[in-house]
């Protein structure tokens, strides 16, 4: 008989994915805007590095993160010394989720900014607003639905994260056992159906909802910019 609590895993997954998305949003917006609007040396390399977690096997991403943040690394050691050991903690779940969702978030914010006619920003400047005010008053609100759509996508990716999480965070009930890890744990367990059912329902339900919301937001974004054609 399995003693795994599926609701603990669902709650942890939702919290970790939400936190991961929220925490990476500012960096993704800054990077997405820079990639959409600026030309700089090494831009292609930056783009490639940002995309890397999307194409790397998640297990490899997890292993690399473990090398950087594990207890034996300088960063991991100083975090542990400060009383914040990262590996095999909920923080590691959030980090893994943030890293795998980041490429989707940056890509979406970049497309959201690219879809804005640059003349809106130029016009705002002629109306007396500097670069920062123009970003806050014009670029960000116009890109917002697209950024939100990307956040939903990154959230969903974070929710389903398995490989990097299991390597970096392990499989500790209540601390690091997310929906995907709980499903994996139950695969070989006898009489696991009662615990499995809510996990599968949550996975499918949340993913479907997220994809729907993403579609609606993307449509809204393009309509508002006058780019949507029936």
């Amino acid at each position: 008989m399995s003693t795994l609590d599926p609701w603990l895993a669902i709650g942890l997954s939702l919290r970790a994915a939400a936190l991961a998305t929220l925490l990476s949003l500012p960096a993704a917006i800054a990077l997405g805007h820079a990639l959409a609007r600026r030309r700089f040396l090494g831009k292609a390399l930056v783009e490639a590095i940002v995309l890397l977690p999307l194409v790397l096997p998640p297990v490899v991403t997890g292993l690399l993160l473990l090398r950087v943040f594990g207890r034996r690394s300088p960063i991991g050691a100083s975090l542990a010394a400060a009383g914040l050991p990262l590996s095999f903690s909920t923080g590691a779940v959030v980090l893994a989720a943030a890293i795998v969702g980041f490429p989707l978030l940056v890509r979406s914010t970049r497309s959201a900014f690219e879809a804005i006619d640059v003349r809106y920003e130029q016009l705002s400047r002629t109306l007396g607003w500097g670069k920062v005010s123009t970003f806050v008053r014009v670029s960000l609100p116009l890109a917002a639905p697209g950024i939100l759509a990307g956040s939903v996508l990154a959230f969903t990716r974070a929710l389903g994260e398995f490989g990097a999480t299991v390597v970096l965070a392990g499989n500790v009930e209540g601390d690091t056992r997310t929906i995907a890890l709980a499903v994996y744990t139950l695969l070989d367990a006898p009489r696991s159906d009662p615990a499995m059912r809510p996990l599968l329902a949550a996975s499918v339900g949340l993913s479907l909802l997220a994809v729907l919301v993403h579609e609606v937001l993307t449509r809204h974004h393009l309509e508002r910019l006058g780019l949507h054609h029936e």
């Binding site: 002629t126 007396g128 508002r224 910019l225």
Partner: protein
Amino acid sequence: MNDAPVFDLDLHVSLGVRDIPLQLHTSAKRIAIVGPSGAGKSTFLRILAGVQRRVRGRLRFAGSTWLDSDAGIHAPPEQRRIGWVPQDALLFPHVDVRRNLLGSRAARPERVHALAEALAIDTLLTRFPRHLSGGERQRVAIGRALLSEPALLLLDEPFAALDPARRRDVVGVLSSEVDRSELCVVLVSHDLDRVAPLVDRCFTLTECGFTETNPTSDVTTQD
């Protein structure tokens, strides 16, 4: 009145494969620009607005240097006090007409009502740009530019989407605003007859640059 040049420029602009020379020295405060399409009329407005890339040379407006590529001077758009009305209006799609009109740093809310009434857009204040006709959008864009307390108004075919009666009204509003606040104006239009009350001089822009044109000559019937 003195005869110091208001528009004093000696520029080269790269437009794809072409390089257009722009030389203009005039003490006229209100000028119209005509010329064949593709000659760079809109680009000229963008240069004055400070948003055009790849411009070399010198540009002075009313005594201040806005551009001097040798000296590394390029005054940013927000310091130029420009009222730019692009041909397609470019109203901000995410805010209603009132917030578009108040979209500039210098706009004073107490002026909105009278100006909106004069431009016959006072019933549209809570609408969003996507629900406006082309002519309505143009009038809102003109209102937004006038409310920004500009020193220089840049009008790109501002009457293209307006019927003749409406056009007369808008020209009236613009004339009174221009007189009231001693605005300088650069107006790109094919319709010189109707904008004549707004301008002192007229220039034709071709790929060889500017040449002065008599405002009453037949360039007015081009379109």
